[in-house]
């Protein structure tokens, strides 16, 4: 193969059943079509037949992939992406920041694909070209924080580890008499990075994630459950080979220009996503409060979700991903009068946690009050409420759980209890009242260790609603499942016209994805613009980069890829087509693996009942419902028009053979499309 730049041209395929590692070398043409990251991962799900309904997501045949892209490494905002079939039996693509992504490139790999199932707990150690499967029984059962610190010291580069050679005679006699050498050799460096699962992933909680640096997550769609099903506790990487670039000077020039721009980005550099804070509630009216029964408090005096308040109350240290100046993650130590929470180390919370396991669980109202009442607490009460949110974030992180679907699940249970549709007896005696962090703590233990009712809840929000609807013979229960396409809706609502348009969640390639892009296009009904936004996001996830510094990349993305890869003829259109391919493949994946015969009824319409039938009760957008309360228009006019613009059929949204051919993916997806057209 000709020399590749940007990418390394190698993917390690680890078969945990046989304990073997093979090297996959994708042809350059594949990189040209899919770039890397998410699009490349989806390509392999088709190429390796994971798309087949016969492949059990939690069985040994499923394939879990960790992938990076051409700018991951020396590029700004390094991120990694996991791609697999989720336990929910739909596509699972999840990205995460952190140094591990860059480290994988430095080790000389574009990705790791994991198939099979180990007979006992293992972890994968990658030290440059050497990929080893090692015993992980000493860390099985531990939370992600502890695992990471233990495994970091077990994986050192070859030059960082040596037996002792010093003798006392090497020192001066006076020195040797004072402090003879301990003869421990080399081993102090800690430069490895770790992706690991917590007990949630080990016990295959469907929404378990893969965590690095204690708090950064491949957060959604449950890659951790797939990892746990393979008895794989962690992937630990140490790379020393660097990142090969076609035009290094140009590449670094672009990186420095992006950094110069980022350096003035006061918003991200101050509080990260916590800076969105109260704006979402009081201006956009789109903040989840008590399972989305409210989206703004009647009294705009709740400050605990403001970045500045959090900073004053608890922020300790800002942490950046490699080559990023936005440093959007802040660590905190919880200060609380409640010994359960006091002293816990965690992060911020970020925006999604703030909503999904904050307001959504009723943490911010004083006891006995509802969000419609005036706020009567003090600043200390606000700080204690913040502590509950931070503690719940910490629990989810350390167990390795997605707090979006997890938050949606806990809020569902709380609302069902509020409406007396279930009783504490249905939850093994746990009385899940709004704002009760101790009850949440108990409930999470049951879920993570799959005890009693926890075994049902571990299948996520939608399955839980379905279970109770059947158990109680009450279909109304499904109305409180705040899930789109069977996965928890993140902390952005579609009822308020100031936030997202419902079409965004209906069309996006991953269920309930809040970062799918295309927002303005959907609001204006400009499907071409919306599609461009969506495709752009796929390109971002394939490079692999981050959404947050998007504005700083403006106009430089193609140049970055060119400088990295040396593809001088690479254009904006090539970038656009990567997203178009990924969207077509994701759509086919979800339809084919679930065996859907009428996708619109069985899949597209699976959105929260509340969107259309529960107007916002408070705030600047009081009375608003999604899509002006007109689901017919959404599903029967807008959606077919969008599908048509994508070159998909208007009745079912299946990419046509012509579209697949034009995108050059008819070879891997044509046969599957034919079965559904």
């Amino acid at each position: 193969m000709a020399d590749l730049f940007g990418m390394t041209g190698k993917i390690a395929r680890v078969d945990l059943t046989s304990g073997t590692v093979t090297v996959i070398e994708p042809p350059e043409e594949v990189y040209r079509k899919f770039l890397g990251g998410s699009a490349l991962g989806v390509y392999y799900l088709f190429k390796e037949g994971i798309v087949s309904p016969d492949v059990d997501p939690l069985g040994p045949d499923n394939m879990l992939q960790f992938l990076i892209g051409p700018i991951t490494g020396a590029g700004p905002n390094a991120r990694s992406v996991t791609v697999t079939k989720s336990a929910y039996n739909f596509i699972s693509i999840a990205t995460s920041g952190g140094q591990a992504a860059a480290e994988l490139k430095f080790a000389g790999w574009d990705g790791i694909q994991i198939v099979g199932k180990a007979s006992k707990p293992v972890y994968i150690a990658v030290i440059d070209d050497v990929v080893e499967i090692r015993d992980a029984s000493h860390v099985w059962g531990k939370g992600v924080e502890e695992v990471e610190l233990i495994l970091k010291k077990e994986v050192l580069a070859e030059t960082e580890s040596r037996e002792a050679m010093m003798r006392d005679a090497d020192l001066t006699p006076e020195w040797a008499a004072l402090r003879p050498v301990k003869r421990k050799g080399l081993g102090e460096k800690r430069l490895a990075s770790v992706w690991s699962i917590g007990p949630g992933g080990e016990n295959q909680v469907w929404y378990a994630n893969v965590i690095t640096e204690g708090a950064r997550a491949h957060g959604r769609y449950g890659p951790g459950a797939i990892m746990g099903s393979k008895n794989l506790k962690a992937v630990v990487i140490r790379g020393t080979k660097g990142h090969k670039l076609a035009d290094k000077a140009k590449f670094l020039e672009l990186v420095n220009a992006i950094h110069a721009s980022e350096k003035n980005d006061y918003f991200w550099r101050s509080y990260g996503t916590a800076g969105i804070g109260a704006r979402s509630a009081y201006v956009e009216d789109a903040y989840p409060i008590r399972n989305w029964q409210w989206c703004a408090w009647a009294d705009p005096q709740v400050k605990a979700i403001e970045g500045a308040f959090m900073d004053t109350a608890s922020f300790v240290h800002k942490q950046a991903c490699p080559n990023c100046l936005l440093k959007c993650l802040t660590t905190v130590e919880i200060t609380s009068e409640d010994p359960l929470m006091d002293g816990t180390i965690t992060d911020m919370p970020d925006w999604e946690a703030m909503g999904m396991v904050g307001g959504n669980l009723g943490y911010f109202e004083m006891p006995g009050k509802t969000p419609s009442d005036p706020f009567t607490g003090t600043h200390i009460d606000q700080a204690e409420n913040l502590a509950k949110l931070q503690f719940t974030t910490a629990l989810h992180d350390n167990y390795g759980l997605d707090f979006i679907d997890g938050g949606a699940l806990l809020a569902l249970l709380m609302e069902l209890r509020q409406r007396e549709l279930i009783t504490p007896e249905d939850l093994d005696g746990i009385d899940l009242k709004w704002g009760d962090v101790h009850a949440v703590d108990e409930m999470l233990k049951k879920i993570v260790y799959r005890q009693g009712i926890g075994d049902v809840l571990a299948r996520g929000t939608w399955e839980t609603a379905k279970y109770f609807a059947e158990k109680k013979g009450n279909p109304e229960i499904m109305n409180y499942s705040m899930t789109a396409h069977r996965y928890g809706q993140p902390a952005h609502d579609v009822r308020s016209p100031a936030d997202k348009n419902a079409m965004e969640y209906v069309t996006v390639r991953r269920p309930s994805e809040h970062t799918g892009g295309g927002g303005a296009g959907f609001k204006q009904g400009d499907w071409a613009a919306a599609i461009a936004g969506q495709n752009n996001k796929c390109a971002t996830d394939s490079m692999v980069s981050c959404s947050f510094p998007g504005g700083h990349f403006a106009g430089k993305t193609v140049d970055l890829i060119k400088a990295a890869t040396g593809w001088t003829d690479f254009t904006e259109e090539d970038l656009f087509n990567i997203g178009a391919r990924e969207y077509a493949l994701c759509r086919l994946f979800d339809i084919h693996t679930q065996g859907l015969t009428d996708p619109k009824e069985q899949w597209d319409k699976l959105v929260p009942h509340r969107w259309f039938y529960d107007p916002l009760p408070t705030g600047p957008q009081k009375g608003a419902v999604a899509y002006e309360g007109n689901p017919d228009k959404l599903f029967n006019e807008a959606l077919p028009a969008y599908w048509k613009e994508r070159g998909w059929t208007e009745d079912k949204g299946i990419p046509t053979l012509e579209t697949l051919k034009a995108l050059g993916i008819d070879d891997i997806a044509g046969e599957i499309a034919k079965q559904h057209l």
């Binding site: 001066t172 050498v181 708090a215 950094h259």
Partner: protein, 281 residues
């Protein structure tokens, strides 16, 4: 592999020390204050001959064209920085975000310096002398702290790594000497010909990890030891750092051994200070 040789040329005599950019050279400073040497024991300069600094070139060192990334596009005048003797690097682990800009700047400089051909297309942090290490919720910058032994107790006033080197490969380059674009200034340098490389000897790294910190790493191509030479008094890492006060280049007169910690010990102390937690790393 590029050979790196010492440039044992006499400093140019026609340069008056007081004309060096309006700055006061260290020797003058010592003379003027009359405090003697004891107050400024830094970087192993004491007891070694210090020459007046030569006029600084107007541009960045020619050997490292790609090595000033922080200056690009910031809207600030690219100030000509003066190489300084007797300074040290200090970092604030709360301000440091672990963004790696320092390591990229350092590795770009020294990768190009020692292996211009091999690193023409590669960014490789292994050439960096300064390495941020992330211990989950704390970040530690790992670098050489310039520890000095104490003669009255330990029988030597050398750097520990220097004292145990069987080949005398760890040099202290006097002010005005060293490679083109490198001003010595009393900072460390590894003699690439004398160093045996990690496949034969790692005494310098081992004594550092045994009793002080972890300031020595190894060049992945030549396999020789690497240590921070403070860029001869004008460190690239400081210029690249985007966080105010996270990494500073300051005239602090202390023996570096009192700053030095093993990276794990540093992180354990930070967990204790920042989060009131005991962690064993």
């Amino acid at each position: 592999m590029t050979r790196v040789e010492r440039r044992d040329k006499e400093p140019e005599p026609n340069k008056e020390p007081t004309q060096s950019g309006g700055k006061i050279s260290r020797r003058e400073f010592l003379g003027m204050t009359g405090t003697g040497i004891a107050g400024l024991v830094i970087g192993g300069i004491v007891g070694r001959e210090v020459f007046p600094k030569q006029a600084a070139p107007a541009a960045a060192p020619a050997a490292a064209p790609a090595a000033a990334p922080a200056a690009a596009g910031e809207g600030e005048a690219a100030a000509v920085s003066e190489p300084k003797a007797g300074y040290t690097l200090v970092f604030d682990p709360v301000q440091c975000t672990g963004c790696m800009k320092c390591a990229v700047a350092c590795s770009e400089k020294y990768g190009a310096y020692f292996h211009p051909e091999e690193t023409k297309n590669t960014v490789n942090l292994e050439f960096s002398r300064i390495r941020p290490m992330r211990f989950q919720y704390v970040d530690v910058i790992n670098n050489c702290h310039y520890c000095e032994l104490m003669e009255w107790a330990e029988g030597s006033n050398e750097f520990p790594c220097q004292a145990v080197c069987p080949e005398d490969a760890i040099l202290t380059v006097p002010e005005g000497e060293g490679e083109a674009g490198y001003y010595g200034m009393g900072y460390k340098w590894i003699d690439q010909e004398k160093c045996l490389g990690i496949d034969k000897c790692w005494r310098c790294a081992e004594i550092c990890e045994d009793q002080f910190a972890s300031g020595i790493s190894f060049d992945p191509i030549s396999r020789k030891a690497q240590v921070c030479s403070r860029c001869g008094g004008d460190p690239e890492c400081v210029k690249a750092c985007p966080e105010p006060l996270a990494l500073q280049w300051v005239p602090v007169g202390r023996n570096g051994r009192f700053y030095a910690q093993h990276p794990t010990a540093y992180a354990e102390l930070l967990y204790r200070k920042m989060y009131n937690k005991r962690r064993e790393l």
